[in-house]
């Protein structure tokens, strides 16, 4: 056959076969090197990637600690809600999935996309919650279309519930997703992005105790995310339950009274013996339940764009002139500094002249000759102009500060602002100006430069009540560390002065007379219990300016603010507080609100049935507003 190999061919073939053999061997050697690089040199990286493929760590969120009132009643609790989340690494086409999810649940697609975009930097295996607190309908719709929704998971999580809705909303605060700024701070170490943390009130102040420790379970899944087996499970640890000093009955009474009155404002009620906060309100309030499962953007916008600022905690963060409620501080300063005695008298003819300027008393005809007790009872401006003038601003400042005004109360809630009681030093430092003695006259009746927060007014009332101990108001009574509620140590008082009983007695007599002796606070009277108090009607702007401003800004409320500070019973008081009505026109209106609080308190003490929530008519509010009309008397004058 011709095809047999001749030697020439043989040589060429052998050579070419060798070329083939060496080529193949070289290729195999390269392959071996390639596998060595992946399997040996980069093994750890790929091993981790393989684990990420098949292992899923599913967080088991810890329920937050419940909040109890002082009698053990549950104020804030948790309930399971369904969150719908996305695990992006299981989603091939994110856009399609979000579109389908939006169609199935009725949530705007743009909102879903925003949520994902905001957290796009996080690892793709970590779920991003898209719909918090999903409805049953949404859950069913997602389940029915689960094949079109790869990567969409529904998880049951405990969410905060506030059974009494907006009751004490500013005290409890609200929860929300931890912010980027918070994650940077050391106290949020170990908190995962997307975690729910306290964002205001007790929820924020005691977040660490309340949060608990999230658990997790690790499961093996296949590429369709079907769970194949569970490897380990770590159950979550519930946060510490906290017992508050709050008395839920008194809290409800406070809010009921505000609702009946129809005014905004703030009230703080404390136990003057130890500083325990019994009731705490700020109005208008919000419903913290709206935040519990992630606040809807529309609801958030409504809250933040509201001119009345419902998110602002007026008890801690708003400052107003105290008006006539400041008078007991001036009276006590006069006694303590020895510039007056309880029997010191002043003749009030309706106005008085200081430093060439006429200062009017609120009572046009004047009070006649008044001593300290009557001056407090009747809230005589001329008497306190005179005493204030004799004291000078720095002595007023000294005693007001010792009583708790113009300083922080250091309550255990976040965001407290400090009020102001002026002094020559203050004016020099901030305005670089000398203090004029004429300025002291207005301050003596709680107008002018002085302003205070409602919580500091509650401390002031408590200090007058307990004889000079500036207690530290606080909210938390006990914490449960897992072995039952353990009382927390009481915070020490901020300062303590020894006021001589007879001097204090003169002030107390006056304040008793305000309520029980035909004074301006008669509406706060409780039969059988010696309520002491002081009303205050404080101008928002001076009466002269008010008419001009009102013509210019028709929508702005320039009506006077109403104050009432109180403590009871007169001897060995157990309750003290401050009620503030924003644009409440008159101090006596605040006394009407305080009446329901005190009536509820003493009904409880006496073991009687609690009074029903008052109606608007029950409060007999005074809506007279002489300065609203053009032609009102335009003189400097403090209210009642």
């Amino acid at each position: 056959m011709t095809t047999n190999l001749v030697p020439d061919d043989r040589r060429s073939l052998t050579l070419r076969l060798s070329v083939l053999q060496y080529t193949v061997a070289a290729a195999f050697a390269l392959l071996a090197v390639g596998f060595w690089i992946f399997q040996i040199a980069q093994h750890e990286k790929f091993a981790e990637m393989a684990e990420n493929n098949q292992l899923r760590r599913l967080p088991l969120p810890a329920p937050r600690g419940v909040l109890l009132d002082r009698s053990g009643k549950v104020l804030v609790e948790n309930q399971d809600t369904i969150n719908i989340a996305i695990v992006r690494e299981q989603t091939k086409n994110l856009g399609d999935v979000l579109r389908t999810l939006a169609a199935a649940t009725g949530v705007p697609e743009a909102q879903l996309r925003d949520t994902v975009n905001r957290r796009r930097r996080e690892p793709t295996y970590r779920p991003i919650v898209l719909i918090e607190n999903a409805t049953r309908e949404q859950y069913i719709a997602v389940w029915a279309r689960r094949l079109e929704l790869p990567g969409i998971v529904a998880e049951e999580v405990p969410a905060r519930r506030y059974p009494a809705s907006d009751l004490a909303a500013h005290l409890f605060g609200y929860v929300g997703e931890v912010t980027q700024a918070q994650l940077q701070r050391p106290e949020y170490d170990g908190v995962e992005p997307g975690s729910i943390v306290g964002q205001a009130g007790v929820e924020l102040a005691y977040n660490k105790l309340l949060m608990g420790i999230d658990g997790s379970k690790t499961v093996v899944v296949n590429s369709q995310n079907r769970e194949i087996k569970q490897l380990e499970e770590q159950l979550p640890t519930t946060g510490h339950p906290l017992e508050l000093t709050l008395d839920s009955d008194l809290q409800k009474a406070t809010d009921d009274a505000y609702t009946a009155a129809g005014f905004n404002g703030a009230a703080v009620v404390v136990d003057p013996r130890n500083g325990e906060v019994l009731a705490f309100t700020s109005r208008p309030a919000y419903d913290p339940n709206e935040f519990a499962a992630g606040i809807k953007p529309a609801a958030w916008n409504a809250l933040t764009s509201d001119n009345l600022k419902p998110l602002q905690n007026r008890a801690l963060q708003s400052r107003y002139p105290p008006g006539s409620t400041f008078k007991p501080a001036v009276g006590l300063a006069g006694l303590e500094e020895g510039v007056i005695t309880p029997n010191f008298t002043v003749h009030c003819s309706g106005s008085a002249n200081f430093y060439g300027r006429n200062f009017a008393c609120w009572k046009k005809g004047g009070h006649g000759t008044v001593n300290l007790k009557t001056a407090i009872e009747q809230s005589c401006d001329v008497f306190f102009y005179t005493v204030g003038n004799m004291l000078g601003i720095d002595k007023i400042n000294k005693w007001a500060t010792l009583l708790g005004l113009g300083v922080k109360s250091n309550i255990d809630l976040p965001g407290e602002l400090v009020g102001l009681v002026p002094s020559t030093k203050w004016k020099q430092e901030t305005r670089h100006e000398k203090w004029y003695a004429g300025e002291t006259i207005s301050v003596a009746i709680g107008q002018g430069q002085v302003n205070v927060t409602p919580v500091s007014m509650a401390v002031y009332a408590a200090t007058l009540a307990n004889g000079g101990t500036r207690i530290t108001p606080h909210i938390i009574k006990a914490a449960d560390d897992g072995t039952g509620l353990k009382p927390l140590p009481e915070p020490p008082p901020q300062s303590k002065i020894d006021v001589s009983p007879e001097k204090l007695e003169a002030i107390r007599q006056g304040m008793w007379g305000v309520v029980n002796g035909g004074g301006t606070g008669g509406r706060a009277r409780i039969e059988g219990h010696d309520v002491c108090g002081k009303t205050g009607t404080a101008q928002v702007v001076s009466n002269a300016n008010r008419r001009l401003l009102q013509q210019k800004y028709k929508d702005v409320d320039y009506r006077d603010n109403g104050w009432f500070i109180f403590f009871a019973p007169r001897d060995n008081p157990t309750i003290a507080g401050a009620v503030f009505l924003e644009h409440g026109l008159h101090g006596p209106n605040a006394a009407s609100v305080a009446h329901h609080i005190l009536a509820t308190y003493f009904a409880k003490v006496d073991g009687k049935p609690l009074p029903p929530p008052p109606t608007h008519e029950d409060l007999h509010l005074d809506y007279k507003d002489p300065y609203a009309r053009p032609g009102g008397v335009a003189t400097e004058a403090g209210g009642q």
Binding site: L13, L17, V24, F35, H43, A50, V220, N222, I228
Partner: protein, 368 residues
Amino acid sequence: MFERRLYFHIDWLLLGAILLLSGVGVAMIYSTTYVPAPTGGHPGTQPLTQLYALGIGIVALLVCLAIDYRVFAEHSLFVYGSLLVLLIFVLIKGQTQMGGQRWIPIGPFHLQPSEFGRICVALVLAMYFGENRRGAKNPSDLIIGGVLTLIPLLLIAKQPDLGTAVTLLPVFVGVAFLAGLRLRLLGVLALAGILVSPIAWKFALKDYQRQRILTFMDPEKDPQNTGYQTIQARITVGSGGFKGKGFLHGTQGQYKFLPVAHNDFIFSVLAEEQGFIGVLGALGLYLFVILRSLEAARLAKDRLGAYLVGGIITGFAFQVVYNVTMSAGLAPVKGITLPLMSYGGSSLIATLAGFGLVLNVRMRRFTN
């Protein structure tokens, strides 16, 4: 026809290595298709199917061994013609599956004629160049050989199954090279290929094929779609480490992170479960099979035998090298199976038949 003394010239070592690789393939298919469940799990149906194919493949090998390869060569045009008929038949009436029209159903089996393309082309080219005294030194012979290769190649590419079609090229190059193709000409051909590739890119490739190549260049760009397989292949191989995760303990294939791994990515799973050691073992076996087969070509009695073995083995080697590269995520994903190990009856049967011819050439090196 089968003389008794031929029995002693069978290359038992090569045959053993081939059967060992096939057995390893069945085991890897068993592991890859095992259906995991929280309680136990159960094997898939594929290993049994592959065992049947292995049985048929051994029969095919024996047939190809028993009949003198020169007899096959004499009928090579008939064999080649039959292949073209089957390929045309597939295009008209074949069964469509996984985006290609590749299969002819025969009873319970599905025949994939394109898998037999390589031996048929090797046979007809070996015959053409072997009977030709000039070898492959003349460009006109080269063109005829090229046309013989291109006709089935285009028919297979039309299915479309570009991966299998491309495996015919190394068969042609292998035979032509052994037949004395000048290296300069080979260079010209390669250059022409490079020049034609942009045109092919534009007109011949389908969108999904272009996408695959683009993705291979940058798998992270599109990790969810076509880049997915490349990334997962690397993870599968890399996570195996030195000793591997152990038989049935691979997670990438069983949990389907690497899709249809028992098919094109069987070597990835081997790397995952048996580790670098297993990879070296398997690569060693394949290298042994290739080098030993090329020895058969060297020993061949005639040019026909040498070219036949050369064509079959170049095609085989190309498939192995490409598939193994791809299974490490180092080459674009193409439908090129790993001969002897990948799941697929037609591929296994055709490959074993091809080795039947290789053994045949070696066995008959002394006969006339």
